[in-house]
Symmetry: C2
Subunit: 318 residues, 2 copies
């Protein structure tokens, strides 16, 4: 009988869970918004529920899974199975033993990895990065995360590598949700874009972004809401996306100038939603900043789409 694995991608905006078979095929999946209020308990309860729903969709109990992998933001201690300091999750500061708590409730062994690392690994092994030995994964969503494959292996530095969202694209520039100034994420992260949109709306600038949000019963500007606003040529939405693409172009080009990797794989909630359009804009906005502009890296959209993070998480199960 095939061995089944669970995989959960815990994002700042949504939680995606899957059950995958031996050949990394998704045979059950479920998705819910990430709680924005409360604290770690609420997030853990949501993780349990979404993984149970994905298992039900696959026709199994979670206790029958060979194991469950969780890709998470924040400071991950793999051995201890803890997550701390997750800035895009509600009130999550001190390390929480998520592997243990989740394992008890789901009746399976849980392994934790960094969300961006597992998603990059999945794209490298199974997706858009298969043919390369060096690549940069750019996960454009609530924040902007980066994953590196060099010589065919993940590069983590001292454990904190890949913070591409906090590369400086404008010294003294916009405030990032991390508190610093001029980070790429301050312009391109969904959360930062929402804060900027809200501020401009409150100052009287016209936009339908928040009307659309209410109409579609959302409590934040999801990628779907942005898409509707862009389709309707909402001026503020268009402006904030131009600004985001410019920042992504400068930041990713800086990373390419430093590392000269073969490929850039664009994923994340916004990256997957805007797909080829986003990849094309990224290529254009990188061009003026690339030192070796006669041979830019290949830019690809993450091939595993919304499931990449969860598939990579499931691959944590040995």
């Amino acid at each position: 009988m095939a061995q089944l694995r669970g995989g959960i991608d815990l994002g700042g905006t949504k939680i995606q869970a899957i059950v995958a078979d031996d050949e990394h095929r998704v045979i059950g999946q479920a998705r819910r918004p990430t709680p924005v209020t409360g604290g770690p308990d609420d997030v853990i309860a949501a993780l349990v529920q979404v993984q149970q729903e994905a298992a039900a969709a696959a026709g199994v109990e979670t206790s029958a899974l060979a194991g469950i992998g969780l890709g998470s933001p924040g400071d991950i201690e793999v051995e201890a199975g803890t997550i701390g300091n997750a800035g895009n999750l509600p009130n999550w500061h001190a390390p929480v033993p998520v592997a243990q708590l989740l394992g008890e409730k789901l009746g399976a062994t849980v392994k934790i990895g960094n969300d961006v690392s597992v998603a990059t690994h999945a794209e490298f092994e199974l997706g858009a990065g298969k043919e390369f030995t060096s690549l940069l994964g750019v996960f454009w969503g609530t924040g902007v995360g980066g994953g590196l494959i060099l010589h065919g292996e993940e590069w983590h530095g001292r454990g904190g590598a890949g913070e591409i969202g906090h590369m400086v694209v404008r010294r003294g520039g916009a405030q990032c949700p991390c508190g610093r100034l001029g980070c790429m994420e301050a312009y391109a992260g969904r959360k930062a874009m929402e804060i900027e949109a809200r501020k401009r709306h409150d100052e009287g600038e016209h936009t339908d972004l928040f009307k659309l949000m209410e109409k579609h019963n959302r409590d934040r500007l999801t990628s779907g809401i942005w898409q509707r606003a862009l389709d309707a040529e909402d001026k503020l939405a268009l402006h904030l996306f131009d600004r985001a693409y410019e920042a992504l172009g400068a930041g990713v080009a800086s990373a390419v100038n430093l590392l000269d990797i073969e490929a850039v794989v664009l994923g994340g909630g916004l990256g997957v939603r805007f797909g080829d359009t986003a990849a094309q804009r990224l290529v254009e906005e990188m061009r003026p900043h690339l030192f070796n502009d006669e041979r830019p890296p290949v830019v690809r959209v993450a091939a595993l789409g919304d499931f990449g993070g969860a598939l990579g998480a499931a691959m944590l199960v040995g």
Copy 2:
């Protein structure tokens, strides 16, 4: 008898040649300014002369050397022994077979490497980077070059990695000598700083920089001229150095956020000249941009000083 090697560091400002023994000790050295007018022939004539002077200082003929290594800017083709597109050298565009031309004149085999790579390699093997397995070499001089050691090995990407000077620190910012906008080098490179100082001086801003240059019989603002101006608290010099340190801080912090390397080794003409002061300023200017600010990388001044590039070049000789 000990095997002697020649090594030449071809910089945008000066040419440093050495003769080193089996244990990488410098037993003869010579230095001259890099020609700023003419073309490749003039630069090659200067290379020949400086290596001959270094050999004479070591009491040998260049034809008695086991080989000569040359660290150069521009596009290096190691196998072909050519150098092309060297923006900081006079009128150097098409590839020139420097290894062959130099070898004929010096009566020894010449190997060419990238100036920043060989200098980083020397610091990693013999200098400030010995105890680390990952580091970023920052060579602050005419331009700003970067060298990477990851897992104890040089990282070159597709051959063009390390262009840290062209990481963007201010999108839409100052024009870099490379033509692009907002590069770190546009603020921190000696050449860019001289262009900015000249422009402001021509616009009537007070500075003694050019008086000092003439008094000391220089044709450019060397690190020594900058030092004198800073010591005299020349306002424009102080301002342009603040600006340079701020740009270096943002750019190097961005590289650290991406790679999380253990150490930064600061070299180059300006890096070595301003040594500990520069390293301290770099630490301070990086801090506001470091994502993992509780554990910044170690920052060290290049321990091989002005000879690092030439020693690294000599190590190209097998």
